[in-house]
């Protein structure tokens, strides 16, 4: 059975932060089309802060996720502070005690994060939010495992589903949050949160996959 080591895998979060910072302008541009344009700026601020704290810490994945979650939750504000804050905190909590993370633990982690988001945000799939990336990604992961695929394959399925989910937001009318005021006018553009969520999931899963033993 494939697993990856929790210890020292905090680098994954560093890489994740780099990706978000790289995409700062892009994410704000997307948010600007139907939102207020702060998504990339705030995300980059939060992830950058966390990356700084983690520097040279040799943290485990759980520790790194915990740091990231806490920074987002306590220092960033906006929608993303609480939503991604709770997500990463839940991620961290679920793998805290796991040394070698297997598919089951990974799935448990994903579900906990998802539930965290849903408990404070109360959005549903189809509302044009990050859930449109997240939910199909988790489903694809679980389905792949249930179908007997390997952890690595399931991670690939997860990434692909997250990105398909992100792309699906283009054809959705926003039902929640800022963009929902726009009604039909929100059609035709990606959701900013779904886009950042796809980036996060790709990086996290890619990092895990590269470490599988």
């Amino acid at each position: 059975m494939q697993t990856f080591e929790n210890a020292k895998a905090g680098d994954i979060v560093q890489a994740l932060a780099e990706r978000i910072i790289e995409n700062r302008a892009y994410l704000s541009e997307i948010d600007g089309k139907i939102g207020d344009g702060d998504h990339g700026v705030n995300m980059a601020k939060g992830f950058g802060l966390a990356a700084e704290r983690l520097k040279d810490k040799d943290a485990s994945l759980a520790e790194a996720l915990e740091t990231l979650g806490t920074v987002l939750m306590t220092e960033i504000g906006g929608s993303m502070g609480p939503l991604y804050g709770v997500m990463f905190t839940e991620f961290a909590e679920k793998i805290e005690a796991v040394d070698a993370i297997d598919a089951t633990a990974y799935s448990r982690m994903l579900h906990a994060g998802l539930e965290g988001i849903q408990s404070i945000g109360s959005a549903k799939v189809g509302d044009k939010t990050l859930l449109d990336s997240f939910v199909p990604a988790v489903e694809a992961f679980d389905a792949a495992i249930a179908a007997g695929r390997s952890f690595a394959e399931a991670l690939e399925a997860l990434t692909a589903a997250a990105e398909a989910g992100r792309d699906s937001t283009r054809d959705l009318v926003a039902k929640i949050g800022r963009a929902s005021r726009l009604g039909e006018r929100s059609l035709g553009v990606l959701d900013a949160g779904a886009t950042s969520c796809a980036i996060i999931l790709r990086e996290l899963s890619g990092g895990a996959r590269a470490r599988l033993r």
């Binding site: 302008a25 704000s28 541009e29 948010d31 600007g32 089309k33 139907i34 939102g35 207020d36 344009g37 702060d38 700026v41 705030n42 601020k45 939750m73 306590t74 220092e75 960033i76 504000g77 906006g78 929608s79 993303m80 502070g81 609480p82 939503l83 404070i120 945000g121 929640i176 949050g177 800022r178 963009a179 005021r181 726009l182 009604g183 006018r185």
Partner: protein, 333 residues
Amino acid sequence: VKKFLNNPNEVVEEMLDGVVKAHEKYLKPINGSHRALAARSGPRPEKVGLVIGGGTGHEPCFLGYVGKGLADAVAVGNIFSSPPPDPIVQCAEAASGGAGVLFVYGNYAGDVMNFEMAAEIAEEKGIRVQTVLTTDDIASSPIEDREGRRGVAGNFFIFKIAGAACDRGLSLEACAAVTRKANLRTYTMGVALEPGAMPQTRRHNFEIGPEDMEVGMGIHGEPGVTRERIRSADEITDSVMDRVFNEMKAAPGDRVAVLVNSFGATPLMELYILFRRVQQRLAAKDILIEANWIGHYCTSLDMVGASITILHLDQELSELLHHPCETAFLKIN
């Protein structure tokens, strides 16, 4: 878009450095942080504390309304982003005089999540918290979904009423109730001619065509509810006032307060032209303007546009509106 800036990433910090120096008569940092500011004279034992807050980019909202008779503390977020729970909790503690704390802020997903978390933490610390969400933007949702609307420039009136109620020593429940009433009787609608630009990008998020305007504009630079051809000032005002009259059940002889608010770049000259028509429309219905404010009260960076807010007064609201206050941007005596 050109701006007076140093490091665009430090714009909020630098602004707050300026604010804290400029308004030290009214404001003091809580525990040294510029993200949680308390009124120098405001919080006092047995008074309900009023905590307001939200993102930056709306100046003089929210920090301009902190002081004696108005808000006791303000939590300050990044541009167009709610503050995180921690400064809100600090505000609650600073504002608390033992009689509970009232949170009043605009109804946005981010603000709701962060203020709710803060309220939980404050409750755990033994501070009773009640919350009133402002939802005065009549363009943002149909009347059936009044609770889903956003809070915009009408904040100005709702904060004022809340602050006066607190200052008069009402109970937490009574303060919340009258603030809720003020919110229900406050009607705002905004129109933007050009979007503003974030300091970090110095570009417009989106463009409004040369002949177009965004109707039902919020205060975060996001597009409005509909895009229409630009019309005359009177026609624009008429369409706003028609929407207001549709919801506000005012009888001849009723009294209102009016706020004509610049979104940032629209100058006073044009606001007076809008006010002129607002006054005409109200007078035609025999509704009296008891007080008015015209200027920059709740902005959206350098957006070109304006909003009109009508507060439908009753005896209680009128008294609270005129209750003295002393803040950096609103003084009543």
